[in-house]
Symmetry: C2
């Protein structure tokens, strides 16, 4: 296996992501990072996002609708995805990790992880049905 080398681009991508509370796509981060590195390429953004999520320094969110999104907050939490405006927001809720044990009870493989997404209409879309 190869040794990891520091890169200013990777660092910037990580800092940009951690400074945001939305859950940006690769392309949104590309726009952001280009302010600091105008010549960075989208390929580099994709490569580093994949690398960082393999290292566990960020999280990849697959919403089931459109491109993957990324989250700089790696602590255990779940997301709400609005089926109208497609925004992704953090949910503050009590621990539900017990569902992993429930799933493991009758299963003969090894369950290592789980992911939960909640879907519906966000507060903003419900209040402004005309938009988006």
């Amino acid at each position: 296996m190869s040794t990891l080398k520091y890169s200013r681009q990777r660092e910037s991508i990580k800092v940009c992501l951690q400074g945001r509370k939305d859950h940006p796509t690769a392309d949104m981060l590309y726009t952001d990072v280009r302010k600091e590195f105008p010549n960075i390429s989208l390929g580099t953004v994709y490569r580093n996002l994949s690398l960082l999520s393999e290292l566990g320094e960020i999280k990849r969110l697959t919403t089931g609708d459109g491109p993957d999104r990324f989250d700089g907050d790696t602590s255990t939490h779940h997301h709400f995805i609005c089926r109208k405006c497609h925004c992704v927001t953090d949910l503050t809720m009590r621990d539900i990790s017990e569902i992993k044990n429930v799933a493991a009870e009758n299963f003969r493989g090894t369950i290592e992880d789980y992911s939960v997404n909640f879907y519906g209409i966000c507060e903003n879309c419900r209040n402004h049905p005309g938009n988006v």
Copy 2:
């Protein structure tokens, strides 16, 4: 809105899907349905899978790895996805729908649905580490 017309192709796609216990991709179903309709096009398969899942007659599964998969069983259940062979299997587990209420407690939008996926290593991959 337009009225739905019967189509032999759509019927065949649905029957093929319901006859399988794996969770095939559009392309896998395409291969299958072509035995009955050698001239069917992949576009027709995609169109009908989207339509059927909008109608609630089948379910679309987004695994976060590779193409979407489809499930002819629309009853409430959850899935395990092997991170090695990427197989998708049904989990038999007790009801966890309470997590929807837990999520709704501190959230100001409307939660309509949720999806849970479990990840890890399936029994087969664990027993045959060399394969795949």
